[in-house]
């Protein structure tokens, strides 16, 4: 097991380095001048030259990359060109906001999806199963901006029972102080992911239901309810954990459309604005954070898999 872990961690590190190199190359491939994008329409060649030399943009690419990596090892992710703030503090402000929003959404999605998936597994191919499938697929198939705007139009503008945007908050505590404001964004984000979680849950519950030990338990006379909760639920949850691991990067990367619509500046909008304005430090810094989250998420997912399935642990065919 340790050998497996060590190998996976080694691979994870390699992937993170690969991500940094890839991002670095990609952002420098973007056409147009970084200086012009930040300095604006009236930038003169002189000012562009000053900008470029201040930020070392005239150096050859590999030299810039090395400088950047050295910086990162000192814990310094650079200063945003556009916002003139350290990237670490920007990410520090925005990441908790996404963690709260997407964390709550994911939790809510799970709370709905797990019982739903179980129910669908038990009553597969009957009316109940089909109804839930159709509803969850319809929700999944809605473009999220459409769903968000519709919810705002109905609940915030027409009925006026919920605020249409999330008020600014400096800390997580302040954010949670007005839970009404978080309802619409959380509902938007969670209902869309309920579908995929519940499909997974349904499939894995069916998987467990076909196992021999369930038949044995039934043959022994264990009540169905107990079978469901003691055996099926517990055993089918494990794959869901791997799914959670795969959701981790999403939580860190933010949801740009929900953030835009609900006035909730988070990592998604940070990315989007940085990408359109060639703000390299933010792009590199946030990609690094998301990249790390992705490999951690994958690692957790794989470890979860390895833990539950002994066949996986012991080498390849």
């Amino acid at each position: 097991m340790t050998a497996y872990l060590v190998r996976r961690i080694g691979q994870a590190v390699a992937v993170v380095i690969g991500v940094m190199i890839l991002t670095f190359i990609l952002i420098h491939m973007e056409p147009g001048s970084v200086a012009r994008s930040i300095l604006g329409v009236r930038a003169t060649p002189g000012r562009i030259a000053i900008f470029n030399s201040t930020y070392g943009l005239n150096e050859p690419l590999y030299a810039q990359f090395v400088t950047y990596v050295k910086q990162v090892f000192h814990g310094n992710l650079g200063i945003s060109y556009q916002l003139q703030q350290p990237v670490t503090s920007l990410i520090g402000q925005r990441l908790p906001r996404d963690a709260v929003l997407l964390g709550i959404s994911t939790a809510l999605a799970l709370i709905i999806a797990i019982p739903m998936g179980m129910y669908q597994a038990v009553r597969r191919n009957r009316l109940g199963d089909h109804v839930f499938t159709s509803v969850s697929f319809t929700l999944y198939s809605m473009p999220d901006f459409f769903f968000a705007l519709l919810l705002i139009a109905v609940f915030a503008v027409q009925l006026k029972i919920l605020p249409p945007t999330v008020p600014p908050a400096d800390s997580v505590g302040a954010l949670l102080a007005d839970p009404r404001a978080l309802v619409l964004p959380v509902v938007t984000l969670s209902l869309v992911t309920v579908a995929s979680f519940s499909r997974y849950m349904r499939s894995s519950a069916i998987d467990v239901l076909t196992q021999d030990f369930i038949r044995t338990a039934r043959a022994k006379g264990m009540p169905e309810r107990k079978i469901l909760f003691r055996h099926v639920l517990r055993n089918s949850l494990l794959p869901v954990i791997t799914l959670l691991g795969l959701s981790l990067p999403g939580i860190v990367a933010g949801a740009v459309i929900a953030e835009d619509v609900f006035n909730y500046p988070g990592m998604g909008l940070l990315f989007y604005q940085a990408a359109t304005s060639h703000d390299f430090p933010i792009l590199l810094g946030s990609t690094l954070v998301v990249g790390v989250a992705t490999v951690i998420g994958n690692l957790l997912a794989d470890i979860g898999y390895a833990v539950l399935d002994p066949r996986v642990r012991y080498g390849r065919p």
């Binding site: 691979q11 993170v16 690969g18 991500v19 890839l22 991002t23 990609l26 952002i27 491939m29 973007e30 056409p31 147009g32 597969r124 191919n125 499938t133 159709s134 697929f137 999944y140 198939s141 809605m142 473009p143 901006f145 705007l149 503008v157 869309v192 995929s196 997974y200 499939s203 894995s204 069916i206 239901l209 794959p239 799914l243 795969l246 959701s247 990067p249 990367a253 740009v256 459309i257 929900a258 990315f271 990408a275 359109t276 792009l283 946030s286 990609t287 998301v290 990249g291 992705t294 490999v295 997912a301 794989d302 898999y305 399935d309 066949r311 996986v312 012991y314 080498g315 390849r316 065919p317």
Partner: protein, 312 residues
Amino acid sequence: MVAREPGIGALAAPEPEGPAGAAELAMAPPAPSPLRRVLATFLENRVAVAGVGIVVLITLFCFAGPLIYRTNQVTVHLNLENLPPGGKYPLGTDGSGYDVLGRLMVGGQSSLELGFAVSIATTVIGTLYGAIAGLAGGFADAIMMRVVDTFLAVPGLVLLLILVNMFAPNLFMIIVLLSLLSWLGVARLVRGEVLTLRTREYVQAVKVMGGSRWRIVSRHLIPNAIGVIIVNATFTVADAILTMAALSFLGLGLPPPAANWGGMLSNGLNYLFDGYWWLVYPPAIILIITVVAFNLIGDAIRDSLDVRLQRL
């Protein structure tokens, strides 16, 4: 793809390190006529059949429709902007004076072409890549998969934004870009399948008999993995259409006078409060129905492949 990781197609997503996990192992169908059995199970699922019916109807609507119902989707007529449904315009007109019903057809052509093209390209590239990686095994496999992991670890939106800015926005470029992002999932899936299948006796037998790698791939591995591939392909169509809608909303979609459902919807939403419902609900409904149909089809195929269900 942009905001939906993991999606419905993620069922088989966790990357198995060694032999595939429990789900994958059980999914390899028995060799004799899998197709017939799959088809039979599929046809029993009435919802799925409905899905196929819907896709067929909508495709006809989009491609054959304009031959019967001709409208001008190029010239802007500002004096006809935002007319409500009635008379000459069964679904009204939009902000540039285009007939909405006709635009749904033309927009559908773009959306469906995009979906199918991305799906095919993704499937072909991903399958080949995954099969080769799975077959090669060892160090080559590790490198190839780490490359996939690297691309997957860069947030899809960032990649898209950067790439979209680099090239002129036309349908072909967007198809290429979306394909570049989607093939990764397929590659992983196929590799997982291949890893499972290559332990099967008949593959070993072919090897012993001196069959070439290519023969193994094309004659044995791909046909047996086809189920998983098709499932993923259908989900890719759905995801591509949704991603295109998201891109249009962010302002990175196709320029006028090109139409696609996502663009129509995001433009129409600007008028939501003005009561121009014909700009919002028709594209929303047709988009959602199409995406749902593809998802249902994919889900049904996956269910039909699932041998365990046969045992219950």
